[in-house]
C-alpha cells in the first residue's frame, strides 16, 4: 500500500515531517537525538562511521551523515530540529543550513531575510494599533 497523499505534498521545497518521513528515518533521527548529550557528540566526532554503525544508520542515510549532506538528510526524513543538533555543534547555523538548502551563500540568505522587513515601520504605522519603536 502507498502512503496516503497529503494536502501539503505539493508545497515546493518543503518536507513536512509526517509518518511517511518519520517511519523510514527513525534510526537517523534517533542518532541525531543522542546529540543532546555531549558524550555522544564526542563519540560521533571521534569516529562518525562507527557511530552510525552503532546506531543502526546504514546505506544512503550513513552516506549522507558522513558527507554532511544536510539537504540529502532532510529529503531522507531527518527532522529539521534534530538535524540542527548535528549542524550547530559543527559551526553550521540554521541560516547556513537554509542557505545550503537553496544553494546560495549565507550572506545572500540573510539579506533575503532582512529584505522581508523592508517598509515594516510604515506598514505598522498604517495599521495604527501596533507599538512602533
Amino acid at each position: 500500500m502507498n502512503w496516503q497523499k497529503q494536502d501539503y505534498d505539493d508545497i515546493p521545497g518543503t518536507y513536512v515531517f509526517d509518518g511517511q518521513r518519520a517511519h523510514p528515518a527513525y534510526a537517523i533521527n534517533k542518532l541525531l537525538y543522542t546529540f543532546n548529550d555531549e558524550a555522544c557528540r564526542a563519540e560521533f566526532d571521534a569516529d562518525p562511521a562507527a557511530y552510525c554503525d552503532k546506531m543502526g544508520v546504514t546505506g544512503e542515510y550513513k552516506e549522507a551523515v558522513l558527507t554532511q549532506d544536510f539537504l540529502g538528510l532532510l529529503r531522507l526524513g531527518a527532522n529539521i530540529y534534530f538535524l540542527a543538533k548535528m549542524c550547530i555543534p559543527r559551526g553550521v547555523s540554521v541560516q547556513d543550513a537554509g542557505a545550503a538548502f537553496q544553494g546560495i551563500s549565507t550572506e545572500e540568505f540573510q539579506q533575503r531575510l532582512l529584505d522581508k522587513g523592508n517598509g515594516l515601520s510604515d506598514i505598522l504605522a498604517k495599521r495604527g494599533d501596533y507599538w512602533n519603536g
Binding site: I11, F17, D18, N79, G98, L113
Partner: protein, 279 residues
C-alpha cells in the same frame, strides 16, 4: 480561586536566548525586537502573576519521536532545562505547582481532552526563552511555571480549531481551581518561518499581522485554515502559531488588547507580542 489575569504571546527562537546570554539586546539588530517587550514586562510587574502556563512545543529535548503526545502537561514541582545540542547554556530550574497541574489534568480529561501527564519533563528553549524575554534571567525565577507542550513537530499535529478548544477547556480548568493563584498564559512560537528545504527563509508579514489582529479579537477566524493551508502560507515551522490559540481560548472573548508588537525578521522568523488583559 485561580484567576487568569491575562495572556501574552512571544517568539521562542533559540537566538533570543543567545542574545540575552551574550548581552546583545540593545545591539542594532536586536534593539527593536526587545524594546517591544518593555510594555509587556511593565504590565507583568504591575499585575504580578504567581504562575505562568507556557504553551510551547518541545524540539527534541524531552520528547523523542518514539512517543509523541499531541498535548502534554507538566505535573511536577520542578522542571529542568538541559543541553539541547544547540549550544544554549542551560538556565536555572523552574518551580512548578504539581497540585494545580493535576487539577488541570483532571479537569481536561473530564472535558474530553485526554492529556499526557508528565511527572518528569525537561523544558527546552521553547519554554525557557519566552520566560527569559519577559522576566529577565534569574537564579530564582520570580514566577512559578507549568509547561503545556503541543506537538507541532511530527505530523499529524492538532488543528488550530483543536488548540482553541483546548484553551477553552484550560480556562474552565483554571476557573474551577479553589486556591487563589494569579495566572498568566504564554502562547509561544511562530510566527511565519520555514527552516527546512529549498523554501527555507520565507516570512509573510501580511499574514502574520492578520493572524495577530484576529487572534487578539476574533480567534475563530484562524480555525478556517487547515494545517496544510497554514504551512503553505506561514511555512512548515510557522505552524507553531496555532499554539497562540491555546492561550487565547483560555481568556474571555472580550479580553482587552493592551499591546501589539511585531518585528521581522528576527533570526528566520516574524515575531509577535500580544498582551491581553483578562480582568
Amino acid at each position: 480561586m485561580a484567576k487568569i489575569i491575562g495572556g501574552i504571546t512571544s517568539s521562542h527562537i533559540p537566538a533570543v536566548g543567545n542574545a540575552i546570554s551574550q548581552g546583545l539586546t540593545q545591539e542594532p539588530y536586536w534593539k527593536r525586537f526587545f524594546d517591544g517587550y518593555e510594555p509587556a514586562k511593565d504590565w507583568l510587574k504591575e499585575v504580578k502573576p504567581d504562575l505562568v502556563i507556557v504553551v510551547y512545543n518541545d524540539h527534541g529535548l524531552n520528547f523523542f519521536l518514539d512517543k509523541m503526545p499531541t498535548f502534554a502537561l507538566g505535573c511536577a514541582d520542578i522542571y529542568e532545562n538541559a543541553d539541547e545540542g544547540w549550544g544554549l547554556k542551560p538556565t536555572a530550574p523552574f518551580t512548578g505547582d504539581a497540585k494545580l497541574s493535576w487539577h488541570i489534568a483532571q479537569s481536561l480529561v473530564e472535558q474530553e481532552f485526554d492529556i499526557c501527564t508528565c511527572q518528569e519533563m525537561k523544558v527546552d528553549h521553547g519554554f525557557v526563552n519566552p520566560i527569559r524575554a519577559l522576566f529577565g534571567d534569574h537564579v530564582d525565577w520570580p514566577v512559578k511555571a507549568i509547561p503545556l507542550a503541543v506537538n507541532t513537530v511530527q505530523h499529524p499535529v492538532p488543528s488550530a480549531a483543536r488548540c482553541l478548544k483546548l484553551g477553552r477547556a484550560l480556562g474552565k480548568a483554571l476557573e474551577s481551581y479553589p486556591e487563589d493563584t494569579r495566572v498568566v498564559i504564554l502562547g509561544t512560537g511562530g510566527m511565519s518561518h520555514q527552516l527546512q528545504g529549498e523554501r527555507a527563509g520565507i516570512i509573510d508579514v501580511e499574514f502574520d499581522l492578520e493572524c495577530m489582529d484576529k487572534i487578539a479579537t476574533e480567534p475563530e477566524w484562524m480555525t478556517q485554515f487547515s494545517n496544510a493551508e497554514i504551512i503553505r502560507r506561514a511555512g512548515s515551522e510557522g505552524i507553531e502559531t496555532i499554539m497562540w490559540l491555546v492561550m487565547r481560548g483560555a481568556l474571555k472573548d472580550d479580553a482587552a488588547v493592551l499591546h501589539k508588537h511585531y518585528h521581522a525578521p528576527i533570526s528566520n522568523t516574524g515575531a509577535g507580542v500580544l498582551v491581553l488583559d483578562n480582568q
